[in-house]
């Protein structure tokens, strides 16, 4: 009855309930030893033989596992593990909506679990070392598994329904867990639930980006303004890298480019050597920023991590080829918008123009060295026409506008003689863009 009368290949009912029972006692064992990672591994079915897995999934689908868990596991662990396994089993069986329903129960029991363990920790004697030697927040890996389960069930449920309701709801529920973690606790920060803050926020970021609800990411960042929470760098590497990756992307969209560069660079440097896909993901956002700040990535980088979209734009910028640049932007527009770097890539146009003018200057200088610092606007127009770009024939207004912007941004030192020349400085007409701070519009 506990296994819902489902037809199961191979094992008979008795041995199935034995399998589940055996699994649960293993879980209880690790709980007793306060080994959070092992509990999490078991829950996520890592290293669990397939027969046992099958039995658990069946028990999960029929929800019979809940009572079994309540009997075998002590205190708040019972309902927690029970609801977790139900949700995971439903998810496994592609029943997303039911997985999400069970996940909501899971969230409630997670809070209960954390409450119980937290009050025990707060009531304990902190002068004596903990028996068993494990820190008071030993169960954080389990919380992580729970939050992961919440997130994945929300995805599945919404994919079935075709909207984003469950994911929004999960955002709210996961934030409640976050609040649990930042409460006042007796344990020193590194041993307290505050060490759970980063991975929970990362899960929230993932949902936000998936459903394109980026506005709430701002107040999430304020969580770290709390001085009792350790700095990001003190958290486990993988969590810190993920956090900085997301924060960098958010700052990118907020047009805070220097902060974004810092975060993404840190993420790239500290990202695990073998995690190639993640490195590519970080670069996708880091490269545009570097380009904007005129820091060209070495060709070696593109050999290791190919990015055709950036390679062609870089070429266009370096050669001052406005047509190549415009074409590339049009070609990759969908990709750039999707990544949120569209505006950044648009901002590179001024460098293309600057390099184009520099070429005109050099060509002009090779013809007549005496008046090389007076660049006729007519020549700039010719250059644009050579690039097969449409230009106004009646006046130089558009060209003067672009030039005025370059002068204002300190990319060219000079002034405009209206409708006649761009007159550049005799000393350093084209300052190194690296040295000049980019003016924000």
């Amino acid at each position: 009855r506990l296994l819902g009368g489902l037809r199961l290949s191979g094992l008979n009912r008795v041995s199935m309930s034995q399998a589940v029972g055996g699994f649960l006692s293993k879980v209880q064992q690790h709980i007793g030893r306060e080994n959070g990672r092992q509990v999490a591994k078991l829950l996520e079915m890592v290293g669990v033989p397939s027969g046992v897995k099958q039995a658990i999934r069946a028990a999960g689908r029929s929800k019979g596992v809940v009572n079994m868990a309540k009997r075998q596991l002590r205190g708040p662990w019972g309902p927690f593990v029970g609801s977790y396994l139900v949700s995971a089993s439903m998810l496994d069986a592609n029943r997303g909506i039911e997985a999400a329903e069970a996940a909501k129960d899971l969230q409630k029991f997670t809070i209960k679990l954390m409450d119980t363990l937290l009050s025990a920790a707060n009531n304990a004697d902190w002068d004596a070392p903990r028996p068993g030697g494990k820190p008071a927040n030993w169960y954080l890996p389990v919380v992580n598994s729970a939050v992961l389960q919440l997130r994945l069930s929300a995805y599945a449920a919404d994919d079935e329904k075709g909207n984003t309701d469950e994911q929004r709801e999960m955002l709210r529920l996961i934030r409640e867990l976050l609040v649990c973690c930042i409460r006042k606790q007796k344990a020193p920060p590194k041993q307290s639930l505050k060490m759970g803050v980063v991975f929970i926020v990362n899960h929230i970021f993932k949902i936000c980006f998936r459903i394109n609800l980026l506005r709430m990411t701002h107040d999430l960042q304020r969580t770290f303004a709390d001085p009792s929470i350790p700095k990001i760098e003190e958290f486990p590497k993988s969590q810190a890298v993920t956090y900085k990756y997301f924060r960098g992307r958010i700052q990118l969209m907020d047009e805070k480019y220097s902060e974004a560069e810092k975060d993404l660079e840190w993420a790239f440097q500290h990202c695990h050597k073998g995690a190639r896909k993640n490195k590519m993901r970080i670069l996708q956002y880091l490269i545009p920023i570097k380009l904007l700040r005129s820091k060209k990535p070495k060709p070696r980088l593109f050999q290791k991590y190919p990015f055709p979209q950036f390679e062609v734009i870089m070429k266009a910028v370096q050669s001052g080829d406005l047509k190549m640049y415009n074409d590339a932007l049009m070609h990759y527009e969908d990709l750039f918008v999707q990544q949120g770097v569209f505006l950044v890539m648009e901002k590179l146009k001024k460098f293309v123009f600057r390099n184009l003018i520099k070429k005109v200057y050099l060509t002009n200088a090779s013809i007549s060295d005496a008046t090389k610092w007076q660049i006729p606007l007519l020549y700039i127009r010719f250059a644009l026409k050579i690039c097969r770009v449409e230009v106004d024939e009646d006046n130089f207004d558009e060209i003067e506008c672009m030039v005025a912007n370059l002068i204002y941004d300190k990319l060219i030192r000079g002034y405009i003689a209206h409708e006649r020349y761009l007159v550049v400085s005799k000393k350093i007409p084209f300052p190194d863009p690296n040295a000049a701070p980019t003016q924000q519009q």
């Binding site: 980026l214 648009e346 558009e398 005025a404 912007n405 002068i407 002034y415 519009q441």
Partner: protein, 343 residues
């Protein structure tokens, strides 16, 4: 006499049943209750089944419990719902359609924004209460949104476009092209709204949410071109777009024009300074002033030196440039004024 307005003063309770709405009915609804015949001061039976968006909840999912109003008066002042409304307080669809026509006429006759805003709010409320999601609903929201844009009441516009988003989605689901025919027009307004209120994060979020083919629409493309021109400081492109914009788009662009203009002034001064004098015609073009005297007045207000006949702008004599009045007024739209309303 079509108007449902009873006397414009207080009182006006007639002997017959059915209530008349006073104009500017800001009194709380509890006071209204005491005027109703046989009304008690207790809230209506059972729990208040008006949800957070002002919709009257029927029995779960059943369309047969559709709320239908019976009020016949065309005009009704808006008041916030705190309890389930009675049918006599809500106008049925046929009446609402007449109300809409009335409001259109009144607008053409020059009715004030406060009156129109009030009436449209109650019109939208009645549609919401009766859960009417039809091309007519879309028409009502779009019409009022356009009025709000013209007056540059951005917060009202924002409320309307939020609801329009839902209605368009509904129209797409139900495959009713009538409901979504102005979809792209309002997408472009939304983008410009985000630009004008300096919400770069939401702007990127918004662009991301568009399907690629939406981005290729002419109106959306126009708004994107404006966005690029403003964020890159391409004042020439901005002026061109501004001068070629449709009247409604122009109303929104008028809000950022002062900002673009002031920055252009700064750039122009830097780029042309070594020239002793520059012609005012050039400044008229880059600052987008069709009339010379307006341009001269603006420059003077900003502390730029002009020749006596205002034909020459003397940059080398210009010391301190200060902000003009129009900039301060425009900046109050910057990043503010959003009220997430119901209707």
């Amino acid at each position: 006499h079509v108007s449902g307005m009873s006397s414009r003063g207080r009182g006006g309770r007639r002997g017959r049943g059915g209530r008349r709405w006073r104009s500017r009915n800001r009194h709380s609804s509890s006071k209204d209750k005491t005027w109703r015949r046989g009304a008690t001061s207790r809230p209506s039976h059972g729990e208040t089944r008006v949800d957070s968006k002002g919709r009257v909840a029927g029995e779960a999912g059943s369309a047969s419990s559709q709320f239908v109003g019976t009020m016949q008066e065309l005009e009704k002042s808006y008041f916030r719902l705190t309890r389930k409304p009675k049918p006599s307080e809500v106008r049925p669809l046929a009446v609402l359609q007449k109300t809409f026509e009335l409001l259109r006429r009144k607008r053409a006759e020059g009715a004030g924004y406060e009156y129109l805003s009030d009436q449209y709010k109650s019109l939208r409320q009645d549609l919401m209460i009766q859960d009417i999601k039809s091309p007519f609903t879309v028409l009502v929201y779009e019409t009022f949104a356009r009025i709000a844009i013209e007056i540059t009441d951005l917060s009202e516009f924002n409320q309307c476009q939020a609801r329009l988003k839902e209605l368009y989605a509904e129209g797409r689901d139900r495959r009713e092209p009538e409901m979504v025919k102005n979809y792209h027009e309002f997408l472009s307004y939304r983008l410009l709204y985000l630009l004008v209120t300096s919400r770069s994060m939401e702007m990127m979020e918004f662009l991301r949410s568009l399907a690629p083919k939406d981005r290729k629409d002419k109106q959306v493309r126009f708004a994107m071109d404006v966005m690029i021109a403003v964020t890159q400081g391409h004042y020439h492109a901005f002026n061109r777009l501004y001068n070629g914009a449709t009247p409604l788009v122009g109303s929104v662009l008028k809000i950022i024009l002062p900002r673009v203009r002031y920055r252009t002034l700064a750039k122009g001064i830097k780029a042309f300074r070594p020239m002793r004098t520059t012609k005012i015609e050039m400044w008229m073009r880059i600052l987008n002033f069709p009339k010379q005297d307006e341009c001269a007045a603006y420059l003077a207000e900003c502390g730029v030196s002009l020749s006596k006949d205002h034909k020459e702008v003397l940059l080398n004599q210009t010391k301190n440039v200060k902000r003009p009045k129009e900039l301060a007024q425009a900046n109050k739209h910057n990043g503010g004024g959003v009220v997430h309303g119901l209707f």
